[in-house]
């Protein structure tokens, strides 16, 4: 049913918080260094803290006309800002550490509303479609759809161009993310966080190390394989294993062998379940021997259960991003630009990455994170080397008709 939120860092401070505690101590120092008076913090921390922690209940997720909503006061000038993001995707203010939203508010004085009501790309699209399709505006100034949805929104003309001249730090964008397939002109989006899709497996169940996508089709694991409902990650990995280049796809025929292979596997009972974000549970309990998964999730899981491993298959894995965009008619463009400039400063980006533990789109973050947490800075899942990056590919941006064919074929297999 849903193509769910692919990113889930660990908001639970469980037994795995050892490095977190060290991090917090050091970050606390750094954090305070960049800030103004504690009193100012306390005052602003109150409101945005509520938003950051109140999750879905504070959502203005009923898109209405900007004028009708009372949530973001102020005109186009930008004394306020409304960013609707995925859950658990930003460092909060806790344990002596000041969250990015609070730091931003303190640094710029902009009244920021941050909500976490963006749970699923398709659900959110269904909500904004009647509004944006009608030419009206939605409440949030910034949203962060996954790359494929960003591509679709750009094609539909439902996004405003970013005022890049107001975002000098955009130059810090990682070179491999400049002018990506989903945003060929690079004018509409700036990635918030990025990650890889690969294979996650439970060593206790498989009994051996896995290295390639073909392992997913190994009859030995029949009925214990999971695959993602996110079409591009699942099909991407399969296509790469068949030697198909996913970054240059233009039609459905090229991808057909991969769809046929997946369908065969499903009919044979090889695949236990197509999952959303909840594959991690099946993986650690042993319901899955292996599954297609996302890098950031496994970083967390592996800490608690050393038997869980993540690999980018030999033939290649997928790379994705959640990109910050301005929905058409967004009111607070200047404030949005300031925000993007703020989070593209390597110092700020480092703090976000250290908590969220996905791959930062900002170059130069690794050195900053090393100051906070040297172990984390060495983690290849967070800071992949050149060779790994070369093995990941971004799925091509499909035209509306071709995308419909892919979606239909995939749904036929997932059984929907």
């Amino acid at each position: 049913m849903t193509t769910p939120n692919p990113r889930v860092p660990n908001p639970f401070l469980g037994a795995s918080s050892l490095s977190r505690r060290q991090l917090i101590k050091r970050a606390g120092v750094l954090g305070a260094a960049g800030l103004s008076l504690p009193a100012f913090l306390a005052a602003c921390g109150g409101s945005s803290d509520d938003d950051a922690s109140s999750g879905t209940s504070a959502t203005g997720s009923s898109p209405g006309t900007a004028a009708a909503s009372g949530s973001s006061p102020g005109g186009g000038g930008g004394d306020s800002l409304y960013f609707e993001n995925w859950p658990a995707y930003i460092d909060p203010t806790e344990d002596g550490l000041t969250g990015t939203v609070d730091r931003f508010v303190a640094a710029t004085g902009i009244d920021m509303k941050y909500t976490e009501a963006y749970n699923d790309n398709n659900e959110y699209f269904a909500k904004i479609q009647p509004v944006l399709g009608n030419g009206d505006t939605i409440d949030p100034d910034i949203i962060a759809p996954t790359s494929w949805l960003t591509g679709r929104l750009i094609q539909l003309g439902w996004l405003d161009k970013l005022p890049l001249d107001l975002i000098p730090n955009a130059a810090n964008l990682r070179p491999d993310l400049v002018k990506p397939t989903w945003d060929p002109t690079g004018e509409y989006s700036l990635p918030w966080q990025t990650g890889f899709g690969g294979i996650a497996y439970n060593l206790d169940v498989t009994g051996r190390e896995l290295t390639s996508a073909d392992d997913l089709f190994d009859p030995e694991f029949k009925g214990k394989i999971g695959m993602l409902l996110e079409m591009r990650d699942t099909m991407g990995i399969i296509m790469l294993s068949l030697g198909i280049d996913i970054s240059t796809l233009t039609d459905f025929a090229t991808a057909e062998p991969a769809f046929a292979k997946l369908e065969q596997a499903k009919n044979d009972g090889q695949i236990r379940r197509f999952t959303g974000n909840d594959y991690m549970n099946d993986l650690s309990t042993g319901n899955f021997a292996a599954c297609v998964g996302w890098s950031g999730d496994v970083v967390q899981l592996a800490r608690d259960n050393p038997a869980v491993k993540f690999i980018i298959p030999e033939q290649g894995g997928t790379a994705w991003a959640d990109a910050m965009v301005l929905p058409k008619g967004a009111v607070n463009r200047d404030a949005a630009a300031k925000w993007m400039d703020f989070v593209y400063d390597p110092v700020q980006a480092a703090q976000i990455t250290a908590w969220v533990q996905y791959i930062s789109p900002v170059a130069g973050v690794q050195e900053e994170v090393a100051k906070l947490d040297p172990d984390l800075a060495e983690n290849p899942l967070l800071f992949p080397d050149e060779e790994t990056i070369a093995r990941t590919h971004i799925f091509a941006n499909l035209s509306e008709e071709v995308e419909a064919e892919y979606d239909a074929a995939f749904s036929a297999i997932t059984g929907a």
């Binding site: 049913m1 659900e123 269904a126 479609q129 399709g133 679709r152 009925g223 379940r273 309990t285």
Partner: protein, 370 residues
Amino acid sequence: MTATIETEPGTPRARSSGTGRTSWWQRHPQRIGLGSLILSGVLLIAVGTGLLDGPLAIAALFVVLVAIVALIMVAVMGGLETRRALAPYGLLNPGMLWLALFYLAPLFTLLRNSLSTLPSRFAIDAKFDWNFGNYADAFTDFQDQFIRAFLYAGIATVLTIAIGYPLAYVIAFRGGKYRNFLIGLVIIPFFTSYLIRTIAWQSMLADQGAVTSFLRTIHVTGFLDTIGIMDGDKLLNTPAAVIGGLTYNFLPFMILPIYVSLEKIDVHLVEAAKDLYSTSVSAFRKIVFPLSLPGVFAGTLLTFIPASGDFVNQLYLGNPNTTMIGNSIQDQFLVQNNVPLASAMSFVLMAIITVFVLIYSRFFGTDDLV
């Protein structure tokens, strides 16, 4: 057994108007009642579907108000017989009009959508053009899901009767003064969220979960595998798990109506029967069971129908080969953004269910649908 109050339309029996003459509206109160109801309903539907809007909508709403007021006036001014004749319409009005506006109107919009074509995948307005192709697609592309949905729902319904009837019977006849407490206990688990209950089953049926471990300990997994309930040593992500989930989640919908009809059976009837018949079983078969049939009937409707359209159980407990039509409709709406096809599929589902229900009620011998 019911003593219905017969109303006799057409007989000039209005008396209390004082004058000797009877107006036509006093002679045909039923027509006024039904007419008012239908008129209000149709106008509300028209407003709801957007057929009438702006000043026309306001005019329509005004007419609805007038119709309701007229009904009240006729009831007040007419005599006792008129009131009796109009009473059912008065009782029905609020509920039915609510349904008319908030159910029928959207349904008509949906019907219109099902016969439309989208100019492009993400367009928000479908063009109405009598496109029956959507229905053709609905029939041909989703046969497996339709069949599975009805199969699973059917098995689940039978299971709920098998489990629920004895429980309802015991509570109704042997509950004594704890009856209300016990029937309350039956429904209380369902004050937690549907989702949480299904997730709980997901955890209990997992490969290392409570239920599966228990089955392994008593060595029945091989047997269950042979008869198809388990798949190897897996209980989760099998058709059995989906059916189990459906059975569980709809159990109170079966228990409650059966209980309600059992509870009002006069115990003396049963005792008298026992004096005449020698066994409890006969008494049950000839007295209790037939009297409980309305409850079983209602319960079957309340279970089978929603279960056929369910998708949550399949989502958490099933595998890609057990999907039901509910998942497909969900997918068409949310992922494929194909509203016309999704609407057509919904109508096909509704149509098939209605046919089942009609056949079922004929078989049951009940004289009307509900």
